[in-house]
């Protein structure tokens, strides 16, 4: 696995290693379900938990209602596991500048997101970080990007209000 490279927005989170993945505590990363596209993520994912996992992209599927990334993960026993991550719809990703070739087979990615409810190898991604540290976001509802923008606008509002 790559070294964990938490973004500043997530730096106050506590991390626990579990089953080859980093499991983040339930009281962190307060990205709520204020306004998410489509159905409630609680249908398939543990909305109060976060994991961070590194894998090699095998396929990027730019579809609706959720784009998908299929990727391989080397587990602690040294075996390869097939995983799938779900993010925002390709319509909204295109509006944010994504292309159908945004991720290519062989890309090494670090994914932060919600783990599956049933323990299967699924994750609803919040942020994807490339090996050079570039964050490409693109998670369901682009919540990570929205929250950062909100922090910036809040700071600006407080300065002007005072």
């Amino acid at each position: 696995m790559l070294p964990v490279n938490l973004s500043p927005a997530n730096s106050r989170e506590s991390l626990v290693m579990k089953g080859g993945k980093l499991v983040l505590g339930s009281c962190v990363l307060l990205i709520s379900t204020l306004a998410q596209p489509h159905h409630n993520p609680a249908a398939h994912y543990l909305v109060d938990e976060r994991i961070e996992i590194v894998g090699i992209v095998t396929e990027f599927r730019p579809v609706n209602p959720h784009s998908r990334i299929y990727f391989d993960v080397n587990n602690e026993a040294g075996n390869t596991e097939a995983w799938m991550a779900e993010g925002d719809s390709i319509i909204n990703l295109r509006r944010a500048g994504w292309t159908n070739e945004q991720l290519k087979p062989g890309d090494r990615i670090n994914i932060l997101g919600r783990p599956s409810r049933d323990g299967s190898n699924l994750i609803e991604w919040t942020f994807i970080t490339m090996p050079d540290g570039t964050e490409v976001g693109g998670g369901n509802g682009q919540q990570g990007e929205r929250l950062r923008m909100l922090e910036e606008r809040l700071t600006q509002y407080r300065l002007e209000r005072n």
Binding site: L29, A35, Q36, P37, P65
Partner: protein, 264 residues
């Protein structure tokens, strides 16, 4: 033959000018175009800080939000913390209105049972409250709201004040009229469905709604005041508000549902 052609031209001219007169009537808001929410156009400069923290929130929740943001004593709170407080307050405000039946339904409902997971289009209330952009087309006798992805396209009839007696459907029947600069839409005949999955709002087949769309003075923002009256699920009318902005740069995309969420 010439007489017939001339009649057609005259009729077309009358129709064109009548339509133009309706659209340009100063008492009717001009709503035609694409309107986006804070979810899909969050970087737009037209939003103010209250819009950005907003949601499908009750009026009480907006009061709470304004209090939080305007009080310097809360300046130690991050945006994430504030947002979480707003969400918690809003859910409580909504849940406080639940009837016993509404509460029982909430207790047994499982998000995994949401039919949209299997690509079933949204019903009318969920379409109204959804985040994706909408395109409004205004004509003399109707308003057509075009949506994308799983939301459903709607037709609002402006030339009648009566609803037909028909069995409930997912879209029900909508009629509209103007009150000064506000478009008012009344919808009845809606089958039981999910109205907002994230807020846990489910309507029974007795649910009816009133939407009030009001333009800001500069025409750039469209405020929705949505009231759901459903005596089966809510002990009082449930009112939610949200803002959209005019986004002519956005186009409504045709988006077939191609993947079943949660399945490998």
């Amino acid at each position: 033959m010439m007489m017939k052609d001339r009649t057609v031209v005259i009729l077309a001219w009358i129709l064109l000018n009548t339509a133009s007169a309706v659209a340009q009537n100063s008492s009717n808001p001009v709503l035609a175009g694409v309107w986006s929410s804070t979810v899909t156009s969050f970087n737009h400069s037209a939003w103010d800080i209250f819009d950005l923290f907003g949601c499908n929130c009750t009026p009480e929740t907006y009061d709470y939000l304004r209090g939080l943001l305007q009080d310097p004593a809360n300046d130690h709170l991050s945006a994430a913390e504030l947002q979480d407080m707003v969400v918690t307050f809003n859910r409580q405000a909504i849940n406080d209105l639940l009837t016993d039946e509404g509460r029982r339904y909430e207790d047994v409902y499982d998000h995994a049972d949401d039919p949209s997971i299997l690509c079933e289009p949204f019903g009318v209330f969920r379409t109204i409250l959804h985040n994706d952009p909408i395109h409004i087309e205004q004509t003399i006798d109707r308003i057509v709201i075009t949506t994308e992805d799983l939301a459903s396209d709607r037709t609002i009839y402006m030339n009648t004040r009566e609803h037909p007696e028909v069995p409930p459907t997912s879209l029900g029947h909508s009629i509209g009229w103007y009150e000064d600069s506000t478009l008012v839409i009344e919808t009845v005949g809606v089958s039981a469905n999910i109205a907002d999955d994230n807020l846990g709002i489910h309507n029974s087949s007795q649910g009816t709604s009133i939407e009030r769309y009001t333009l800001s003075p500069d025409g750039r923002k469209l405020h929705l005041l949505f009231t759901l009256t459903d005596p089966v699920r809510y002990s009082a009318p449930l009112t939610l508000e949200r803002m959209r902005i005019f986004t002519p740069e956005v186009s409504i995309e045709n988006a077939p549902c191609e993947s079943i969420s949660g399945q490998f």
